[in-house]
């Protein structure tokens, strides 16, 4: 028995020792030299081999969306690696579909640079920058939602398309030992390039929202990168139906500023849903937009006001309010922002009212 135990111990120790030697050698001895990453067959970056692609690109101020900061746990940092990336690693396969693997899609945080390689990324990511800003105002909107106002420091201005989002860096804090990024839609006026506004709802036990609500203070410096995303107004004159709930309000605030600035007069009806009267916010601001935009109508909908609560607006689910409109919306476009459940239900109603899927645009909480 003792011999068996000793043998197991010796084999385990030797294996562990060899593994350690390999790790140390790879870290300190292996020298991959300078390698070239060719991006979209046009941009060439000279980087030191040995690090991963996501880290190398970030050092070169080229940002790929990533929520976990490159630790292989979120699966967001996908790129198409057409040459030199080596085989797909077991750490990547959970996040890749068979089709993606066939198309050479990889997690950029898991590709170690050992030689020259070629990757393809969406063109708009080449315009993404990292920003430093100061949180100059935090305002309570409801019991679980806050508005955060940031003044940009470096670089001092940002260009974004209303509907786009940024990735806010959540630093380490008590209870969170890792830096992570989380995506939030921009809610500010695109004409004021020196600030951004975010509307954030607290997620129970959420890493980033816990920091935003319990640790971030006015005067603190934050970092974020962006802008990202394809959600935006189409270039048509079609009348629009908007549906959102909770922090799904954010991109629509920015779209309203855009409509005001660019004198866009497309008829627009915005259904905004909440469960209780206490979930409603920005009602005055929306009424102000109604005055500035003659073809804009705001329809707040409360699902179930508490007994004795004063509420003169629409009642029921936001999708039921839309259904009650009972209009032919076949010439309309639909815009949605909110939870997958709300979006799926709203798409169904929009389809029933005549809006085909190809004219429905949405930003799902994903």
């Amino acid at each position: 028995m003792l011999t068996v135990l000793l043998s197991v111990l010796i084999v385990s120790s030797v294996s562990a020792g060899l593994a350690l030697v390999l790790v140390v050698a790879d870290r300190f001895v292996a020298n991959y030299g300078e390698c070239t990453i060719t991006i979209n067959e046009q941009k060439k970056l000279k980087v030191q081999g040995g690090k991963n692609v996501l880290a190398a690109l970030t050092e070169e101020k080229l940002f790929i969306p990533s929520a976990c900061g490159g630790r292989g746990t979120c699966g967001y940092c996908k790129v198409r690696a057409t040459e030199g990336a080596g085989p797909v690693l077991p750490t990547e396969t959970p996040f890749l579909t068979p089709k993606e693997i066939e198309d050479n899609v990889r997690l950029s945080c898991q590709i170690k640079i050992r030689n020259d390689l070629k990757i393809e990324i969406p063109e708009e990511l080449l315009a993404v920058k990292e920003y430093e800003a100061v949180c100059s105002r935090i305002t309570d909107l409801t019991y679980d939602m806050k508005h955060f106002h940031f003044e940009l420091r470096d670089p001092p201005t940002i260009d974004f398309v209303p509907g786009q989002y940024i990735q806010l860096l959540c630093p380490q804090y008590k209870g969170n030992r890792e830096e992570v990024y989380r995506a939030y839609s921009v809610a500010s006026d695109p004409a004021d390039k020196t600030i951004i506004d975010l509307i954030i709802r607290r997620v129970p036990n959420g890493i980033c929202t816990t920091w935003c609500f319990d640790f971030l203070k006015e005067g603190d410096t934050v970092r974020f990168n962006g802008p990202y995303g394809e959600f935006r107004l189409s270039q048509t004159d079609a009348p629009m139906i908007w549906v959102a709930g909770a922090s799904g309000m954010a991109p629509f605030v920015s779209l309203l500023y855009q409509m005001r600035n660019e004198r866009i007069t497309r008829p627009t009806t915005y259904f905004f849903g909440g469960n209780k009267v206490k979930d409603m916010f920005y009602l005055d601001r929306m009424r102000a937009f109604e005055k500035e935009l003659p073809n804009f109508r705001f329809v707040p909908v409360v699902a179930a006001p508490d007994e004795g609560e004063q509420w003169d607006g629409e009642r029921g689910l936001v999708t039921q309010a839309l259904e009650r409109a009972d209009a032919d919306l076949s010439g309309h476009e639909g815009y949605l922002c909110g939870s997958p459940g709300m979006i799926d239900a709203a798409i169904k109603v929009m389809n029933q009212l005549g809006i085909p899927n190809e004219r429905i645009f949405y930003d799902k909480f994903e």
Binding site: N176, G341, F365
Partner: protein
């Protein structure tokens, strides 16, 4: 016994704040295996399996989701409500599972006992028999869960 690299990585993911604030194990010093074994034993003692409770949790969640954050009564003894939040969450085990950040709360109207769970809880109970460690924010106590979600639960078998 030396643990496999994937076991070490799982333990690290569960204890770290990579996926949820303060991790999945809370202040529970027991090993993952011990936590799972203890909770499954408690369930079996009550005449249930992880699959059964997960199926019931899924059923209740599916009833609540279309009501978009509004409470819905099931018969005359249970009320459930589901809230969706921005973002998705992954399973710490090494497989491609990405779920919406959704929290469902069930409340028994006769006893006023209530319990909440996330979609990730349902998955981790069904697939891994994992109810999270003591002190974690989304720890599910098997006994309380069974008492709340099954109408006719009579006690340990």
């Amino acid at each position: 016994m030396e643990r496999l690299p994937q076991e070490k990585r799982l333990d690290y993911l569960l204890r770290s704040s990579k996926i949820v604030a303060e991790g999945f194990l809370g202040d529970d010093a027991r090993s993952l295996e011990e936590i799972i074994e203890t909770d499954i034993s408690a369930l079996v003692h009550m005449g249930c399996t992880p699959e059964q409770v997960a199926e019931r949790m899924q059923e209740l969640t599916a009833i609540a989701v279309p009501h978009m954050g509004n409470p819905v009564r099931i018969d005359d003894w249970l009320e459930v409500v589901s809230q969706d939040y921005k973002g998705q969450i992954i399973c710490p085990w090494p497989h491609p599972v990405r779920l919406p950040k959704r929290v469902t709360t069930a409340r028994r109207l006769d006893t006023e006992e209530s319990i909440r769970w996330s979609d990730l809880n349902i998955h981790m109970i069904a697939e891994h028999g994992f109810f999270e460690g003591h002190g974690s924010a989304f720890r599910i106590e098997p006994a309380l869960l069974v008492r709340v979600i099954f109408e006719d639960f009579a006690g340990p078998v």
